[in-house]
């Protein structure tokens, strides 16, 4: 068992002007036994980071330590990691059972013990009926589970799982998330789980590291990412439906600070404890972010009002799109809200739910 520490890790593919800077100055600590999710849009450098941790990709600069040992120059097997690949990478000439058991076979585990463990895992992953099949005839979701199983069959210091549920249907994914979480609680091993799906990341992980554009944006638990995103990228990426951003201008009135939307008749109050942060920043123009969950329908003296353009009914909730002036807001409302396009709607909100960002850098101000 061990923790994983990345310090100032860079990955540049190729060289010179055609080089791709896939990972930039990444500092990340994954604690011993922690379930860490690496979350970010496609192409942001997640797989590259994993491949460096596993030892399949040379580290351009920086260091990776496992439990205090620098592993930069160690072969994957010396690092004692198990990995499930985004592309499955199953052995096409093996049956599913042989695929699952291969890491044990390599370690000289006797055949009947291998068989027992493979069957156990197949049951967990719900692939018992395909144990004798070979990968080329399997569906994407089946191959993905075999690949996950091959990573889970031994108990390495660190588990590395790259997009292991991307090809599962929603129902199965839900069960597998649950099983994986339970497995982690049993094993208490360090796991690094890569995904571009925030639902998976937030459901599974103790902490989530959000990446974008080759760089780490924020590391934190669900609460931190949701309520205190460090920048507009995180605020936008985490949460569904996405945050609405509104350009605002600061107006000081009788000791209190107000932020007035540019191009719409919306006024945000700024609580006194946050005024100092705005003062420290010194600017007059900001971008305000509001999560659709934090707008409450209210007919009496609303903070903002507008015309409904779309009412998307999603089962247990509805998403309203409301236009007021130049601004389009989204609000998450109970499904029984009977508002049709063209109707007038008013909303209230808690000033503490308003996120204020620097417009230029996107960094959270208050």
């Amino acid at each position: 068992m061990s923790n994983v520490i990345l310090s100032k890790v860079n990955k540049i593919y190729g060289a010179g002007r055609t080089g791709v800077h896939a990972v930039r100055d990444l500092d990340l600590t994954v604690n011993d036994g922690e379930f860490m999710a690496l979350l970010g849009p496609s192409g942001c450098g997640k797989t590259s980071t994993l491949r460096m941790i596993v030892g399949l990709e040379a580290i351009t600069s920086g260091d990776i330590h496992f439990g205090g040992v620098r592993v930069n120059d160690l072969e994957p097997r010396e690092r004692n990691v198990a990995m499930a690949f985004e592309t499955y990478a199953l052995y096409p000439n093996f049956t599913v059972e042989e695929n699952l058991a291969f890491p044990l076979e390599v370690r000289g585990v006797p055949a009947d013990e291998r068989r027992r463990r493979a069957r156990e895992l197949a049951e967990l992953l719900r692939i018992t009926e395909i144990l004798t099949a070979r990968p080329p005839v399997l569906s994407g979701g089946q191959q993905q589970r075999v690949s996950l199983g091959r990573a889970l069959i031994r108990e390495p210091a660190v588990f590395i799982l790259d997009e292991v549920m991307s090809h599962l249907d929603a129902h199965l994914k839900f069960q597998m998330l649950f099983d994986l979480k339970r497995l982690h609680q049993e094993l208490r091993r360090t796991m690094i789980y890569v995904t571009h799906d925030q639902v998976e990341a937030l459901a599974l992980a103790d902490r989530v590291a959000v990446m974008s554009n080759a760089a780490l944006q924020q590391v934190g638990d669900r609460n931190a990412l949701y309520n205190r995103p460090t920048n507009m990228f995180v605020a936008d990426f985490i949460g569904e439906p996405p945050t609405t951003f509104i350009a605002v201008e600061r107006c000081d009135r009788a000791g209190a600070i107000e932020l007035r939307a540019i191009g719409a008749d919306i006024v945000f109050d700024v609580a006194a404890e946050r005024a100092s942060a705005l003062d420290a920043h010194g600017g007059r123009r900001f971008t305000v972010g509001i999560r659709p969950q934090n707008l409450y329908p209210c007919d009496h003296d609303p903070r903002m009002a507008g015309k409904v353009v779309i009412n998307e009914y999603l089962g247990e909730r509805s998403i309203l799109s409301i236009v007021t002036g130049d601004v389009t807001l989204r609000a998450l409302v109970p499904p029984e809200t009977r508002l049709a396009p063209g109707d007038h709607a008013g909303f209230s909100l808690d000033p503490r739910d308003v996120m204020i960002f620097d417009t230029e850098s996107g960094v959270l101000v208050a």
Partner: protein, 324 residues
């Protein structure tokens, strides 16, 4: 959902269909398709079917060279086959063929496979890979007749380069008589291995290059050593490719005449004769057309059986892997 397409009603056309383009009927004489199919069929008839039928016909008759031109030959049933199968010369040549297959063809495939895997696993620089590839493939570009002459020189007992080298290295103390009975067939095999190892080498090398790299990364992470990877992953994945190399070398063995002809003429005392060489000798040299035809048909039958077995095996392998 499938939708009925009504001719001439553009609203029913699927969206990939470019409605503006009218389908114009392709107007050609009806002889064109007949000619296009007929020509290849005619060629096939002329160079494959006709000679085969012709040969089978004469294998049942007592045709010799004069009989062939005067039309003076008679049906003798399977007497030619009986002669061939009963002759010690043919039985010996079958043993020679077996020796050639199991030491020549098999060795070529094994050697080619080993060389190809070593080249791929050990040599990392692309430049060196290319250089070695070209060097290994060079012998294959020489016609067998030249290879035969070359190796007759190299193996000349008294002053040939091979004996000289072995003497200098102290591996032998007296000249090896490369063209004596019992050894001459080995000389042919050596020359043939030198000539043809490059073919299985090329086939297996290109097969190895096209194996998915991700599988090898998985094996690295799973902790498999290099030998384990070769034995459990690479070789099984190259099974079909290696089988194809075998088929090519085996079928070649059945039409293998040139090296025998150039190096030993089947001698001394018929000790290095292969069936095809006897067929050639009996038919072209000694004008026993009927008997030569029987030889050819027998060789054809043996090779057909072997290739069929191979193809069956391939089919089984491919089905097991879900490829067929």
């Amino acid at each position: 959902m499938r939708q009925a397409i009504v001719r001439g009603d553009p609203s029913t056309y699927p969206d990939w269909f470019d409605g503006k383009r009218r389908q114009r009927p392709l107007i050609v004489s009806r002889w064109v398709p007949i000619a296009m199919v007929g020509l290849p069929v005619a060629v096939l008839l002329a160079i494959v079917i006709y000679p085969t039928v012709w040969m089978f016909y004469h294998s049942l008759r007592d045709t010799n060279i004069t009989g062939l031109f005067t039309g003076n030959h008679a049906y003798i049933g399977f007497a030619n086959y009986a002669t061939v199968l009963g002759s010690e010369r043919f039985q010996d040549s079958l043993i020679h063929l077996l020796q050639y297959l199991s030491f020549g063809a098999v060795l070529q495939v094994i050697l080619g496979t080993v060389l190809a895997l070593i080249l791929y696993e050990v040599v990392r620089s692309n430049l060196w890979r290319t250089v070695i590839l070209i060097l290994v493939v060079l012998p294959m570009m020489l016609p067998p007749s030249i290879v035969g002459v070359l190796w007759r020189f190299l193996l000349t007992p008294s002053n040939g380069a091979v004996n000289q080298a072995l003497l200098d290295l102290g591996l032998i103390s007296a000249h090896i008589e490369w063209f004596n009975a019992g050894i001459s067939l080995w000389s042919i095999i050596i020359a043939d291995v030198w000539n043809w190892t490059a073919l299985p080498f090329l086939i297996v090398y290109s097969g190895r290059v096209s194996l998915p790299p991700a599988v090898y990364e998985a094996a690295r992470v799973d902790g498999a050593g290099q030998w384990k990877v070769v034995r459990r992953i690479t070789l099984p994945m190259l099974k079909e490719v290696i089988a194809i190399a075998f088929i090519l070398r085996f079928t070649d063995a059945f039409k293998f005449v040139d090296l025998v002809y150039v190096m030993t003429s089947g001698g001394p005392a018929q000790s290095s004769e292969l069936p095809t060489y006897i067929a050639f000798q009996r038919g072209i040299r000694e004008f026993a057309i009927g008997e030569a035809a029987a030889y050819a048909i027998i060789i054809f039958a043996i090779s057909a059986v072997i290739v069929t077995l191979f193809l069956q095996y391939m089919k089984r392998v491919m089905r097991a892997q879900g490829l067929a």
